[in-house]
Symmetry: C2
Subunit: 412 residues, 2 copies
């Protein structure tokens, strides 16, 4: 097979993006069930929230101008016109010199434009108060539509729906939403040596790890993992299974096998399925170098390394963005924001210029800063990943980092 040069991560992403055609299917769900899904399109509010001027304090609703000049020694005297009850309209409208008792959240009577806090009033008798401090128009109130105005874009299309988006939808009375139907991601493990976790491995056999880490990663990214099983180094069987997945899945992940034979079978099967086929074979990262990136009839197909840590790293870089955003980072800055934690590394680590390294780290807070302790171990060792809280990035322009240097970390 022809030799491919190793691409950078962003180059790899661009190659896939240039050929892929990942579907965006619409699905309508009750808003509560939309948690964790991505919004299909922009959502605008049909109405103002709140629907009326609202008090943010306990006190008296007034016309602000009636309080101008008031002070402790010279209070402004106002007649108490009544009380605003929670959840009801006011019984009247503002006329000069009148005040209404109001609670936090209460609706201002028409014509009132401010609330005097109860602490800045004195009750003279049941029908009269003295205001001891002036209020400006708009003080201690939330105006109609101040939270959300009718027509406002409240959640942009593509946004993942978090708890606060549920709140915004509830506030605007939007109880059903269109979300992006999760992508179906087929997961196939390859290799004559791989047996399911339920089986005791015989001599030379190992249990399937990658199917389950990938299953977890796909689910955590809000998509639908489809475990398509384990296939030996068998061209015909792998081709049948992949051809079937091409008809029902949106993305296909092949992982392992680690042997030359298995790698070769995977590559030949991918090439046989359609065009453009394999786009690159090798990325300039560690771990994860021996990755195959392909697109077949618009569907991304990845040949992930057999080593569990490598497979997880490559998934995180090349697959996860498609699931959580439907696209790759547009530039280096957007990519770096995926590594939001800044920490001091606690050991010297060597890298190679031109290669981007991802180091498993534990994280702890000490002396006012976050420390990243490298978890040492080969990329075949899944136990090292379970001991890690994050992946620290060593940029391609460095030949390593020294203890005390800052690194950027993605939580995993």
């Amino acid at each position: 097979m022809e030799l491919f040069r190793a691409l950078t991560i962003l180059q790899s992403c661009r190659e896939i993006a240039r050929h892929m055609n990942v579907p965006r299917r619409k699905k309508t769900v009750p808003f509560q069930e939309a948690l964790g899904f991505r919004l299909f399109e922009d959502v605008r509010s049909p109405e103002d929230v709140p629907g009326f001027d609202r008090s943010t304090m306990d006190g008296y609703a007034v016309r602000a101008r009636d309080t101008f000049g008031a002070s402790e020694s010279m209070p402004a005297y106002l007649d108490v016109a009544g009380e605003v009850f929670m959840g009801r309209g006011a019984a009247g409208s503002a006329v000069p010199g009148k005040a209404w008792r109001i609670s936090t959240g209460g609706m201002l009577p028409e014509g009132c434009d401010a609330v005097v806090m109860v602490e800045h009033t004195e009750e003279l008798d049941a029908a009269t108060i003295g205001v001891t401090r002036p209020v400006a128009p708009g003080e201690n109130i939330v105006r109609r539509g101040e939270d959300i105005s009718a027509g406002d874009l409240i959640i942009p299309g593509g946004q993942v729906i978090r708890p606060q988006e549920l709140g915004v939808l509830a506030a605007a009375g939007i109880t059903g939403v269109d979300v992006v139907d999760p992508l179906r991601v087929a997961i196939i493990s390859t290799g004559d040596e791989v047996v399911p976790p339920t089986r005791a491995p015989g001599p030379g056999q190992v249990r399937d790890v990658n199917s389950y880490t990938l299953y977890g990663l796909v689910r955590r990214a809000g998509s639908l993992p489809v475990l398509s099983g384990i296939v030996g180094d068998d061209y015909g069987r792998l081709k049948d299974i992949m051809a079937a997945e091409m008809t029902r899945s949106d993305i296909i992940l092949l992982s392992g096998g680690s042997s030359v034979g298995a790698r070769d079978v995977s590559a030949r099967v991918i090439e046989s399925l359609g065009s453009p086929g394999i786009l690159f074979h090798g990325i300039s990262i560690r771990p994860g170098k021996p990755t195959i990136g392909a697109v077949v009839e618009g569907k991304p197909v990845f040949g992930l390394p057999g080593h569990p840590v490598s497979a997880m790293v490559v998934f995180t870089l090349l697959v996860e963005p498609l699931l959580t955003r439907g696209r790759y980072p547009l530039d280096e800055d957007e990519f770096l924001l995926e590594f939001p934690v800044t920490a001091r590394i606690t050991r010297n680590l060597r890298s190679a210029a031109g290669r981007e390294d991802f180091v498993r780290v534990g994280l702890r807070q000490e002396g006012g800063q976050i420390l990243a302790d490298p978890v040492l171990g080969k990329s075949g060792l899944i136990a090292t990943m379970a001991r890690a809280a994050g992946l620290a990035r060593i940029p391609p322009d460095l030949e390593g980092v020294e203890a005390g240097d800052f690194v950027r970390v993605k939580l995993i």
Copy 2:
């Protein structure tokens, strides 16, 4: 009602922790379904992973000592004894001067202790190779049990099961695990002005926002939200509902109402349910000050502020740790690790000494660093929360931050 002094967050946590008795119920699930749950107790591996010495390269399995002294000009000549097939035991054991063809992941024949990369060999004929570079014992292999040794603690009890933990469980052949059964969290909205999102608000009415943000927060934290509905400022009804929740929920969240009347009703009902009752009323944070913390017969009961942003902030600080870890942070360092992002704030912000502030921020990467842009707006405005990516913390010993200062941010 008696006045309570405002506590710090850690003091609040300690008060709750001192009286609470949150249950840990065991639930056994197939390992794949354990994703996102917390492990009930330590899990140890019943066996070695891998179960045999394994090659990490394509090449020849050898006794390392047979290659000592080998060089390009003076290769060590070895007889090829055969080939190790993937997923099978070797056909023989090592005898001096013999080499076996082996692929990455293959099982070393007994007595072999290293693998020579194929690049460092030359094939003289079908039965003989020359080794052009020596290998040390253990080179290019993973030893039996090097990933996981039988008896190793592979996942500590209490750990949340992530994709990599699924991988470790699969590797060790553990296909069913005991997890902590999710806590049931009752969510009750109070206030005469609150109507469900399905209803068009009349004059003075607003839709229930907090039930849904809290629902999302509880679910995201891996627990079971139970929406117990909206209760007006009605002592009897609230007491009935809370008494019912006391028998079936583990934690009770009351939110709103914002009026004096509603706050008072909530506090009286909490006090009536059992002991010790209300532990504090007010935390020295912003937003979120008017929070009631209580424990009734071992169950934490929180009276969250009515303002949506305040309720979310207080949930994050006082409720979330109980759901995700079953306990509060032990100290300031553990608490700070919950704010793992370091960013430069882009505006001056004022705070008050002795008070801890949490500021909604957007995050962007620019010029090699992460910038935190404060999202301005009152704590009653849920739309501001939907525009935020994180909560930046202004520590209690500061009176504010200046543009360019570093802040610690929790992603929300």
